[in-house]
Symmetry: C2
Subunit: 368 residues, 2 copies
């Protein structure tokens, strides 16, 4: 059993929006296809993966460095010990998809088996992330945006802060609370914008609202800032989407003052070093007393849904309004009552997302 | 004044050697050329830069992401406030070279001016790094290698440890000490190989030799390991070559137990985010009580020589035996008595290194 070809396709990301720090207008995403020599229904079985959305594609490094390494590897080195399945430790997300398809099961089942556990019962908690800055009339637009998410079946929300003066941001928070109904249903995300004084100022201003969490207050690596904020902020603090390794995650909980019973870890398996490294992240977090239900991976898409279900994490995010064709879930994923569930499609089920399916098909249409 | 073209060329790195962790046999380096619209001697002035050696080229991300961003930028945004010089903060090493050439001065003078200081008087301290694992007969070969470096004018050396059992490594250290003459003239480098127990075991075994430093004992991000080692190891510990930002460097000294009067910081301006970020690294280190003479950047080449002289750092390393055509210095850099000095060539003087000059010439031979 062999992976006979690797392909990459760079796709622009939808969404001309911005948070406190970046615009997403020019972002792109690499889709990777792992073409196997196995056939199902007369066609080669192909695994698809992409990394986190809201960054940039990696076509160059994939074609110049990773694909040649994979082609040059001993083919048996890409197989698990039994020689009858691919080992995703070698090449990650596209191989998880491929391996799940070869087993004709959803990726969450494959991931759970690899972790020695049963998949979490469906559905799992999901919240709608959005609330970007659009420009004029943003409070009215924000309210309409969140009303729209509620109509789609979401009952918890996250909006951006830190891209406007504090009084404007507080007006946005209060408008969002009107829709969310309770602080526990609304999180805010500063995207790492603040220094320690601004983070503490926002912390004091936000504390009375009893929010779901205050996300990424400062530089992702500024563990001292985080500890100083947490010393004076009783509510949950969430961070970790811009940490990439188990070593980084361990430093976060060692030095950042993160509280196992309170705070939220958002390391993203796709944006960082894959599901294999994410398993190591969970090991380190659990060694420091964090339950895995404190983990809500950044990146609202099908891949992380299967990770959340497969590993029993706290829940998913979703970007219903932006980050297509990667963001969001397939129509077959029943969203409602603040929850989401994977379908029983093999693999990550990316082919069930119509706006993504055309890109996937274009990558493999020449395969006999 | 404009940069009218960006070019990249990927060049294989010489040196089929290994340390405790990696083989360098397949490594490559990107040379970047910044072609200006300015002319000197009838030819366009071109700045050259490369990043650290002993890693991989970045042709894909340069061509797909960085060059398009630079071409798309407002040309004035690449100029300093006076509009008459390029601002390296935007595009880094190749622009430092270009800007120094436009001023007809060595890059160390340009770098020193940007930092508001005078260049350090030449020459500066340099040590020879090598002592890799070659296979059979490595102790005899090691001794011959260091003898060769001494004949070239070096009087301090660094060798690898951690790629062999402790007793073999100690035999290598003792052979190297025969050549070095004193522990203060010999450093050892574990390239991040050890867990905390192995690091402490090596620390106890190495302590009696009074070595110049014990480099990168564990994972570059494992600040807790570093602190535990340092608690029981009185000699200097060196690390930082695999930290890339001012935030990382600050975490190192905040959480790693690094001692301002004892330990050594090896953040590499090229391997990390450039000289501009390196200036921020120095600011953070000085705020934590470290003198800049505690900094010995990783990466023994002309670019870091100009950084060391321009910023008054502790000294340089050199790889006389490996990492050509990038590693090492030009024949015009007088090496002797354990010191090295830049020539008065404009820029980094990369054109004075014969094995590199042909690559640089090939990148610009078509320019009128």
């Amino acid at each position: 059993m062999r992976i006979v070809e690797w392909r990459e396709r760079t796709v622009p990301l939808d969404g001309d929006v911005r948070n406190a720090v970046v615009s997403f207008a020019d972002h792109t995403v690499s889709i990777v296809a792992a073409v196997s020599d196995q056939r199902r229904g007369g066609r080669p079985v192909v695994g698809f993966g992409f990394n986190s959305i809201g960054r940039f594609a990696q076509g160059g490094i994939l074609r110049e460095r990773l694909f040649p390494r994979l082609r040059g590897a001993d083919p048996d080195a890409l197989l698990a010990g039994d020689g009858r399945s691919f080992d995703p430790a070698a090449v990650e997300l596209a191989v998880w998809d491929l391996e799940a398809k070869l087993r004709d099961e959803p990726a969450c089942a494959t991931i759970a088996r690899a972790a020695g556990r049963a998949p979490t019962p469906y559905p799992v908690s999901v919240y709608a992330a959005g609330g970007y800055y659009y420009g004029d009339d943003s409070v009215r637009r924000l309210r309409a945006e969140l009303d729209g998410y509620r109509a789609l079946g979401f009952d918890a929300f996250k909006i951006k802060v830190g891209g406007a003066p504090l009084d404007v941001d507080l007006a946005r928070v209060e408008a969002a609370l009107d829709v969310a109904g309770a602080g526990s249903c609304l999180a805010v995300d500063a995207n790492g914008r603040f220094g320690v004084e601004a983070a503490q100022t926002y912390g004091r201003a936000l504390a009375p609202y009893g929010l779901r969490w205050f996300e990424e207050p400062g530089d992702p690596l500024d563990y001292a800032l985080l500890r100083q904020l947490i010393d004076g902020y009783a509510g949950p603090v969430a961070t970790g989407e811009n940490l990439f390794s188990a070593a980084d995650a361990e430093n976060l909980v060692r030095f950042g003052g993160m509280r196992p019973e309170v705070d939220v870890i958002q390391v993203d398996p796709g944006l960082s070093y894959g599901i294999t490294e994410y398993l190591r992240v969970l090991d380190r977090l659990e060694a420091h007393g964090f339950d895995r239900t404190r983990c809500f991976p950044h990146g609202g898409h099908l891949i992380n849904l299967h990770v959340v279900v497969g590993l029993g994490l706290g829940g998913c995010e979703a970007y219903p309004g932006v980050f297509g064709p990667f963001g969001g879930y397939a129509p077959t994923c029943a969203i409602g009552g603040g929850t989401v569930a994977p379908s029983d499609a093999p693999g990550f089920g990316l082919e069930e997302k119509p706006d993504l399916a055309s890109h996937l098909a274009a990558m493999v249409e020449d395969l006999a």
